[in-house]
């Protein structure tokens, strides 16, 4: 168990498997006597039993019950016990999952950190984020589009480029400005850093034989943001998240890049961002 500060959120986090976390999370460690915003605990069980209380709702075929003021939902392999604001989350995993356990722990804790982040006003984006010239450039797209490949081309052309997070960076609003922060949840690679940089631009990547920038209408920017973020499960949270999208669209450069895996893809978007300088 340890205490970590991730994208400004102070989290007491206890995980079972060091496979994914050991190399990633130490950069985020804070003092043991720090007061935390939230607690996230993973444990294992040989005998996962459904705990029933007052029925609250059904989510994707599973019943959510209220037990001692917390939400409890149980599936065959996973039990989640959480407060409405996600400030206290316990994930119990079926030991029978065997060698898959470390990866399942990693992906579930990442999902619940995204849920917590949205509750606290952050925007988790499915993206690869880099720092260049002390500013953050965010390349967003669904898995398999080639985010990491595109970012590796940036690194080749501009060795100063630092990777903030290669899978799920967080966009933060602070002092009336948007910043991009890293987190230990960075997908298959361990490319992540505990840094925060002002957001320069968000680029939605599309696979294409040729490289060109296609400007987006505001509603298209909105749809891209919706498609590549975490979806909260209450209407209020969705509305709050969409208010943040409106502000992002109003204040920041957002576009789409149709690109292949050639280095000219980087030159194309670089020129769009920085002009002919």
């Amino acid at each position: 168990m340890g205490k970590y500060q991730i994208a400004g959120i102070k989290l007491e986090f206890s995980y079972c498997f060091p496979d994914f976390f050991a190399d990633r999370i130490t950069k985020y460690q804070i003092n043991d006597d720090d007061v935390v915003d939230a607690r996230l605990k993973v444990s294992l069980s040989n005998d996962l039993k459904e705990i029933r209380g007052k029925f609250k709702r059904n989510v994707k075929g599973l019943n959510v019950y209220e037990v001692d003021g917390k939400n409890v939902v149980t599936s065959k392999n996973i039990q989640l016990i959480y407060t409405d604001d996600y400030s206290d989350v316990e994930i119990v995993l079926n030991k029978g999952l065997g060698e898959k356990l470390p990866e399942i722990e990693y992906s579930y804790t990442g999902m619940y950190f995204s849920a917590l982040a949205v509750k606290r006003g952050l925007i988790p984006l499915h993206a690869s984020a880099i720092e260049y010239n002390n500013q953050a450039i965010v390349f967003s797209a669904p898995s398999g589009t080639g985010k990491s490949t595109h970012v590796s081309l940036w690194k080749r052309l501009y060795p100063d480029v630092k990777i903030i997070n290669d899978d799920k960076p967080l966009i933060i609003r602070e002092n009336n400005q948007f910043y991009v922060a890293g987190s230990p949840w960075s997908g298959k690679t361990i490319l992540n850093d505990n840094v925060k940089a002002p957001l320069k631009t968000i680029v939605f990547l599309k696979q294409s034989p040729d490289n060109y920038v296609k400007e987006l209408e505001n509603y298209e920017k909105f749809i891209e943001l919706v498609r590549n973020t975490y979806h909260p499960d209450t209407e209020d949270d969705v509305r709050n998240l969409f208010d943040r999208f409106d502000l992002l669209i109003k204040e920041k450069m957002i576009t789409s890049l149709y690109c292949n895996m050639d280095i000219t893809a980087v030159k194309t978007i670089y020129e769009w961002i920085y002009g002919e300088e």
Partner: protein, 89 residues
């Protein structure tokens, strides 16, 4: 008939975007875009209404013939049925 609960409608410029609530997947494709007429019909369908009532509402609001309005409405309802977001008794 009416629209199921659990959708959030946002207006962005001349377009409207409707997003379902409660999907926890990080990538989601069930987004519907609506034009001004679509938005109008969507709002009418927040209450239980008949096709006739929709046609009348549209004739009151827009300068269209009954035939065109009916055609538009039936097409719109078909889209809603395809997305399984219409509750019909």
């Amino acid at each position: 008939m009416k629209i199921k609960s659990g959708y959030v409608l946002r207006e962005i410029g001349n377009q409207c975007v409707v997003v379902p609530v409660g999907e926890t997947a990080i990538s989601f494709n069930g987004i519907i875009t609506l034009n001004k007429t679509g938005k109008f019909l969507w709002e009418q369908l927040q209450n239980d209404v008949t096709v006739d009532a929709l046609v009348n509402a549209m004739l009151n609001k827009y300068d269209v013939t009954k035939e065109v309005a009916t055609q538009d409405i039936l097409e719109f309802l078909e889209v809603l049925r395809k997305h399984q977001i219409l509750v019909e008794e």
